[in-house]
Each structure stands twice: as structure tokens, then as C-alpha cells.
């Protein structure tokens, strides 16, 4: 499924990752997530298992998490994290086990902590 968003009956917005979240489509990814968070209290990403992710993808996720926390929205993901995300987190030293002040002092379940 290409990078896109759809609204569920319960108001939740699901964003499908498509096959890449890299610099080539970072602007589009960022826009889709921003619009989703403006439209719904509850936004989740569904990753393709083989999705490619780079630093820009990580930055959009972190930025979205900060934005959601600020306005008390939910920003999360469904299903297991894709291998590429685990790889880019490990390689760039982005693991976070501690609480994050930008995420209302909750644990970071994106980059290391558990959901």
C-alpha cells in the first residue's frame, strides 16, 4: 500500500508507510502526518514490513510524537516495528529507554521503550 492515510469509523487515522520513508518523500510523509494529527486525536502508522527508513523518517516520527504530546493526541503504530526502523535506530544511536520530556515525560515507545 503506498504512503497514504485513511480514516477509520472510530475516527482513528491510519497512515500506511509505503515502501519508503526516506528523504525523497520526507516532505510528503511529514505533511500526511501533520494533517492527520490536525484532523484526529488518534493517529497510527502501519509499516510495510520491508519499508526503507532513513534519518529523515526518524525525524518525522520524533517530531510527530512531540507534536502529538503537545496537543494530547495519540501517535502510535500498529503491528511490529519494521526491521529498517530498528536498524536505523541502532546504527544512529537513537535508542531511548528513559522518559522523554517532549512526550509528556512518558517512555519513548518509538525508539527503544516498549509500548
Amino acid at each position: 500500500m503506498p504512503l497514504n492515510s485513511s480514516v477509520r469509523e472510530n475516527g482513528e487515522i491510519i497512515i500506511t508507510s509505503g515502501d519508503r520513508l526516506t528523504i525523497e518523500n520526507a516532505a510528503e510523509f511529514s505533511r500526511i502526518v501533520r494533517e492527520a494529527l490536525e484532523a484526529s486525536k488518534n493517529v497510527a502508522i502501519e509499516f510495510e514490513p520491508a519499508v526503507e527508513i532513513d534519518i529523515t523518517g526518524v525525524q518525522v516520527l520524533c517530531s510527530a510524537c512531540k507534536s502529538a504530546a503537545q496537543s494530547n493526541n495519540q501517535f502510535s503504530y500498529h503491528g511490529p516495528q519494521p526491521q529498517a526502523l530498528a536498524d536505523v535506530i541502532a546504527k544512529s544511536g537513537a535508542e531511548r529507554n528513559a522518559i522523554c520530556k517532549y512526550n509528556n515525560n512518558s517512555k519513548c515507545f518509538w525508539f527503544g521503550g516498549t509500548k
Binding site: 494529527l37 520524533c62 517530531s63 531511548r96 520530556k101
Partner: protein, 706 residues
């Protein structure tokens, strides 16, 4: 390369012809910038390429002429008759140099005269003394470094320019280069990532703190950043050195590190110190320093402490590097660690539910320590697989003699480490496979000669790491599997349909079916049809998988993929009704929803449409006869089982889970589809599902019905 040199001669010839025309034209219109540029470019190309192909004389001579024309180009000199005369002479001289065989001495007198003449035209010009060919492009690793330098630890803060990603630089590859220099701890800092409405998605906001211990000097670190050093903020500081006699094992206090880094002022440090609590927590609590910065400083502290400890503990060479421990003590240790992981999960759950910050902090510390303890304990049980390899050498020797064959055995990857119990359980399957290679695989010497092969055959046995698994490969250069005969036999026994289009790999896999043998005569070694199914069972019990590949006439390769350890696995925790189940994460691909409508639309068949692909699923609720209320929306966990995609329907997917495997009691040993059990954080038991066996059971059931 010879070809490229010939092309260069040709190309330079053309450029010289063009140069001559341009120079003659320039004589008539000395101000024509286009012509001046053309001359410059011709010289430039002749020089640049010349140096690359070893025409050093041409390179250094042309460099002088080019330099002069660069000045003309930049308006610092004008075109005169004398300049044109000299340049035309240069053209002739280059032409002469070009005709000289590469590497032989040349007559320089003409060239020196021309250069002297050119220098007179620009007396103020500082002509470089040496030819261009001596300037190296970039320092190759290992060439210019003083390898004997002492091991030092460096603190690096790498703050990329915002546009670094847009210019094609991948900061992760730079960090990987640093990792290659030694031992590195990397912490990415996220605090500058803005909210979405201010985010420029292609900009780089993340910056990095890296602690690196290396024997290579500061230059090696700087070389990593050579392309970005002008526009990125890179701080490299020496923080520890093995050469310094340093008796104390510890390292600087956290506060001192933060002050050194500029993340904290000394005044603030004093203020916080007065409060007499754990320093890092206080800094975060008071909002003076962000948790990420503290984490990063803690990483540095740990890193240097670790390095110093290693140094002080490095044993004198003659001292024993290892000790012997009875195996059961290790097993006991693993069991205890398993219990610990379980209790820790419970602790985390309770602490999170309670919401007490101090309690959560302690629980997190326990979690970190438990993880480290687990990894260390599992590591202790790792043994190199090579110890079993040597046994097989003997087996090959004896068997081949018995059968009158000439067979050698070659091994690789003997140093690959695997859990002790896994190695033990691998023994039987490997014996069977190797026996088969020798008996059925490798032909008699005469037959090999007739096929144009060396009379002696070879069996290769090797191991290598692949992610969290080890691949054990057994390869022979024998006759290969007889695809058609295996197929015929499988059809005869009702294992395969006669007409179905089956991929080769699936046909070859039939050799692992119980009682399967295509051998015409039963030998003392094999052929009775027992054996290969033992392999299958053995590998299954290790939660591994088998792949077979074969080329008729040139040999067979069997690949066993075995998980590194049996004690603790990563898994997906799911729920059906009130019961929890655990699915090994290694084969899980994704989770999708299954609604009542989906079920209705499938007209009673257990098939789901996942992005256009039809995937069969097994409703576990029915399979386990769980009767309570079915939820409105169920979840399908899609798994890849030996290349087949199958869904398992559950009520909820709870999430990833560290599963400590407990074996089931004797009473339950024969239960199909359940490979073990685990204890969850709250004390309840969850069954570990064997997805491969479940799939087989359901397939068999369907066949029986049909």
C-alpha cells in the same frame, strides 16, 4: 587499463590539435574569453588525465602552462605574442612527451626552456616546485597513521549542517566509519527536532555525541569528517589515554563531564550538588539539563570506566584466560536468569501501573541490569561449533573407506559460536546428513572420472552467523539429487500430486519425509528410509529450518538455519479470550485486522485478502476450542513458514515480549502445535505456539476431509 592509456594518447592528440587552432585564433582576437577558456580546459584535461595514467612528465609540465593560463583567465595577465609563441612551443613539447614510451627517460631541455620563458612573463608568480602528481587525494586508512599510537578515548560532538542530507551525505555512514576505528558509543540527540509545523523534513536536526576509544590518532577521526568539516560543527576532545599512568579505575563525575561539554555551568552544578541527591536525576528534575544530555554523559562515563577497567584487568600474558565450570552450573545460571527476566517483567508492569516516579526509575534500572545479565549469561554458554566439526572428519574418513570412495572433508567457520545445548542437539542431524552425502551424494571414483570430475569427492561443512541465527551448510560435489525420481516416489507415496506444478525446492524437501528413500539397495550406511526425517525432527526441535538445493551432476547443498539460543526468544504476545499465547517473532511478518464482514465475504473459507494477496488463515480460537465471546474485530498474525504465508487469527495482539522458554511436563510432551510455555509478568502461563506444526496439522486435517 592498457586500453585507457591508448585512449588517453588519442584524446590528448585531439586536444593538442584543438589547442593549436585555439591558439592561432587567439592571436587574432586576444581578448576572446571563450578561446582562453578553451585553452585552459585543454591544458587542464591533458594534465589531469596524464597524471592518472602515469604520464608524470606531461602532468608536471602542463601544470606550469595551465597555471599561466589560469591567470590569463582571471584577468591577471594579458595574451601577448610572446605568450602565444611559448604556448605553441609547449604544445609541440607535450606532443613529443606523448610519443615517448611510458616510464622511459625523456629529454627535458626543451621543456625547461619553455618554463623559464613562461616564468619570465610572470616574475611575481610563485610557481610550485613540484609536479601535481605528488599530492595525494585523500589519506587512505592505515597508510599514514601511526599505528603504534596509544589507545585513546575521544569525545566527539558532531552537529551536522542542516542541509547535509540534501547534499547527499548520510551521517550514519560517517558514524559507522567512526565505529570502524575502534570501540564507539553513539547517542543521537533529538532535542532540536521541532514540532511538525516547523519541521523542514529534509533538514538534519539530530546531532550526535560519540565516545570513541581507538589506537588511531585524531587525524583518523578528522578524516572521517573530511567532506563535511567546513560546514558542520565538529568538536573532538581527548578525554582518556592509556599512556597516562592512571591508577584510579573510576572516571570523572557526571557533573564534571557535563560542564566540560558546555551542557552545564559550574554555578548550576554547585547549586544542584548542595541538594545531595543523585546528580543526574536532579538535573533532569530541575529542568537544567535534558535527560538525553545526561544519558549521553552517562554513556561517556560508562565507556571510559569500561575501557579503564579492561586495561587494569587485562591479564598478564601467562595468566589463565579462562576457567572451567561444570556445565550444570551454567544451566542453573541460565534458569535463574530466566526467572529473573520473568520477575523483572512483573516488576515493570507493577511499577508502570503504580505511576510512582522513583519506583519506575528503580524498575528501569533493574530492567537494564537484567538485560545485561541475560546477554552475559547467554554469552557464557556460547561455544565455537568447531568442536563438533573434528568429530565429523573422523566419520567421513571411516565411512568413505568402508564404501571404497575417496572423500575429503573441508570445514569453514569453525569459530562460529552457538549455544552449548544447540550444538549438542545439532550432532545427530549432522551425522545423518553427512552420512547421506557420503553414501548417496558422492559417486564412486570411476563414476566421477567418467563424469570428468576429480576422483576424490569433497564434503564441505561450514557455519556462519546470519542475524540472530547461525547457518550451517553441508555441501557435497557429488551427483546431486534426482529430481524426477524423488518426485515419482513422492507421488507414489501420496506426498505430492502427480500433476501439480511444484518448485524444485519443495520436491527436494520430500527427502525429509518419514520413511522416504529412493535408494535401490540398502547399504549398511543408509537407504532404509530412516534418517533424514530424524534430521527434520531434530532441526524442528531447535526451531530451525532446512533448505535443500541441488544441481544434477554437480552436487547438493543443505542449509540449516538455527537460532543462536534456546533459552530466551523474542516473541509476539497475543490473546484469545482470557488466554495468552506466544508466537516466535522470527517468523512473524505483520498483523492485519479481520472483521466480521471479511469473514462473511470469504463465504466460509478461511482466506484473507491482504493487499491483493490471498492468504489462508487458521482460526486459533476454533482450533483450541475457546468458546467465550468473539470480539467484533479480530487480528490475523501473518507468518512466513518455510516460504509459505499463513495467518493465525487471534483476538488481540498485545505486543513484543521477551519469552523465557519453559519446557512442558511429560504429560504434555505429545501435544501438537505447542512447543513450550512461558510465565508472564503477572504470573500467568502462556503457551508457545509452534506455527509450523500447527500449519501441518491443519493441512492434514483438510486433506483427510477431502
Amino acid at each position: 587499463m592498457e586500453e585507457a592509456i591508448a585512449t588517453y594518447r588519442e584524446e590528448a592528440g585531439e586536444l593538442l590539435a584543438e589547442l593549436e587552432t585555439s591558439l592561432l585564433d587567439l592571436e587574432e582576437t586576444p581578448d576572446d574569453n571563450d578561446l582562453i577558456n578553451r585553452v585552459f580546459r585543454a591544458m587542464h584535461t591533458i594534465k589531469g588525465s596524464g597524471a592518472m595514467f602515469g604520464f608524470d612528465e606531461i602532468a608536471s609540465f602542463t601544470h606550469e602552462v595551465e597555471t599561466v593560463f589560469d591567470m590569463v583567465r582571471n584577468g591577471k595577465m594579458t595574451v601577448t605574442k610572446r605568450l602565444l609563441d611559448l604556448t605553441l612551443k609547449s604544445r609541440d613539447h607535450i606532443s613529443y612527451l606523448l610519443s615517448c614510451p611510458l616510464g622511459e627517460a625523456v629529454d627535458r631541455s626543451e621543456g625547461d626552456e619553455i618554463i623559464a620563458g613562461l616564468r619570465q612573463l610572470v616574475p611575481q608568480l610563485e610557481l610550485p616546485q613540484k609536479g601535481s602528481s605528488e599530492i595525494p587525494a585523500i589519506n587512505l586508512p592505515g597508510l599514514s597513521e601511526d599505528e603504534l599510537a596509544n589507545e585513546s578515548t575521544w569525545r566527539i560532538r558532531f552537529r551536522p549542517a542542516p542541509n547535509i542530507l540534501m547534499c547527499g551525505t548520510n551521517p550514519i555512514s560517517l558514524i559507522n566509519e567512526l565505529r570502524d576505528l575502534g570501540t564507539a558509543h553513539v547517542v543521537a540527540q533529538f532535542d532540536e527536532i521541532p514540532q511538525l509545523n516547523e519541521l523542514v523534513p529534509e533538514n538534519c536536526y539530530i546531532y550526535w555525541d560519540i565516545i570513541l576509544t581507538t589506537t588511531r590518532g585524531e587525524d583518523a577521526i578528522k578524516d572521517v569528517f573530511i567532506f563535511v568539516e567546513d560546514d558542520c560543527d565538529i568538536k573532538i576532545e581527548l578525554i582518556d589515554r592509556s599512556g597516562l599512568i592512571d591508577r584510579e579505575q573510576g572516571y570523572k563525575k557526571l557533573g564534571d563531564i557535563l560542564v566540560e561539554r558546555g551542557d552545564l555551568s559550574p554555578v548550576e552544578m554547585q547549586k544542584v550538588l548542595m541538594l545531595q541527591k543523585r546528580f543526574g536525576e536532579l538535573l533532569v528534575e530541575q529542568g537544567i539539563v535534558s535527560p538525553e544530555k545526561v544519558q549521553s554523559a552517562l554513556v561517556e562515563q560508562q565507556h571510559v570506566k569500561g575501557v579503564r577497567k579492561e586495561r587494569s584487568e587485562a591479564p598478564p600474558l601467562e595468566a589463565a584466560a579462562s576457567i572451567r565450570v561444570p556445565a550444570e552450573r551454567l544451566d542453573q545460571l541460565i534458569n535463574l536468569v530466566g526467572e529473573m527476566v520473568t520477575v523483572q517483567a512483573h516488576l515493570s508492569q507493577v511499577s508502570m501501573a503504580g505511576g510512582d516516579a522513583t519506583f519506575i526509575a528503580i524498575s528501569e534500572e533493574v530492567e537494564r541490569l537484567t538485560n545485561e545479565l541475560r546477554d552475559t549469561a547467554l554469552n557464557i554458554r556460547m561455544l565455537p561449533i568447531g568442536s563438533t566439526f573434528s568429530k565429523f572428519k573422523r566419520l567421513v574418513r571411516d565411512l568413505s573407506q568402508e564404501l571404497g570412495k575417496q572423500i575429503e572433508m573441508e570445514t569453514f567457520g569453525a569459530e562460529t559460536e552457538l549455544d552449548k545445548t544447540v550444538i549438542e542437539k545439532l550432532n545427530d542431524p549432522l551425522v545423518h546428513i553427512i552420512r547421506n552425502c557420503i553414501d548417496h551424494g558422492i559417486e564412486m571414483p570411476e563414476a566421477r572420472r567418467a563424469a570428468g570430475k576429480a576422483p576424490h569427492g569433497t564434503v564441505y561443512l561450514g557455519a556462519e552467523h546470519s542475524g540472530d541465527s547461525v547457518l550451517v551448510t553441508i555441501r557435497d560435489d557429488g551427483g546431486g539429487l534426482d529430481r524426477d525420481r524423488i518426485r515419482a516416489k513422492a507421488v507414489e507415496r501420496g506426498l505430492l500430486s502427480a500433476t501439480a506444478d511444484v518448485p524444485d525446492k519443495e520436491i527436494y524437501a520430500q527427502i525429509f519425509a518419514p520413511g522416504f528413500s529412493t535408494a535401490e539397495k540398502v547399504t549398511s550406511v543408509s537407504g532404509r528410509g530412516v534418517g533424514m526425517d530424524v534430521v527434520k525432527r531434530g532441526i524442528d526441535s531447535l526451531r530451525g529450518s532446512i533448505g535443500v538445493d541441488s544441481i544434477r551432476g554437480s552436487g547438493t547443498t543443505i542449509t540449516l538455519k538455527i537460532p543462536l539460543t534456546l533459552a530466551i526468544i523474542d516473541s509476539l504476545l497475543v490473546k484469545i479470550g482470557k488466554d495468552h499465547f506466544v508466537l516466535p517473532l522470527a517468523s512473524v511478518e505483520e498483523c492485519v485486522e479481520l472483521t466480521r464482514d471479511d469473514i462473511k465475504n470469504a463465504h466460509g473459507r478461511s482466506l484473507a485478502n491482504v493487499r491483493g494477496a490471498i492468504i489462508p488463515y487458521i482460526p486459533l480460537r476454533e482450533h483450541f476450542k475457546i468458546t467465550d465471546q468473539r470480539p467484533e474485530i479480530e487480528q490475523i498474525v501473518i507468518a512466513d513458514i518455510h516460504g509459505t504465508k499463513v495467518g493465525f487469527v487471534v483476538d488481540h495482539v498485545v505486543g513484543e515480549h521477551q519469552t523465557v522458554i519453559k519446557s512442558l511436563g511429560k504429560m504434555y510432551r505429545d501435544v501438537k502445535g505447542v512447543s513450550g510455555a512461558t510465565i508472564l509478568g503477572d504470573g500467568t502461563v502462556a503457551l508457545i505456539l509452534d506455527m509450523g506444526v500447527l500449519l501441518q496439522a491443519v493441512e492434514k486435517l483438510e486433506k483427510d476431509i477431502m
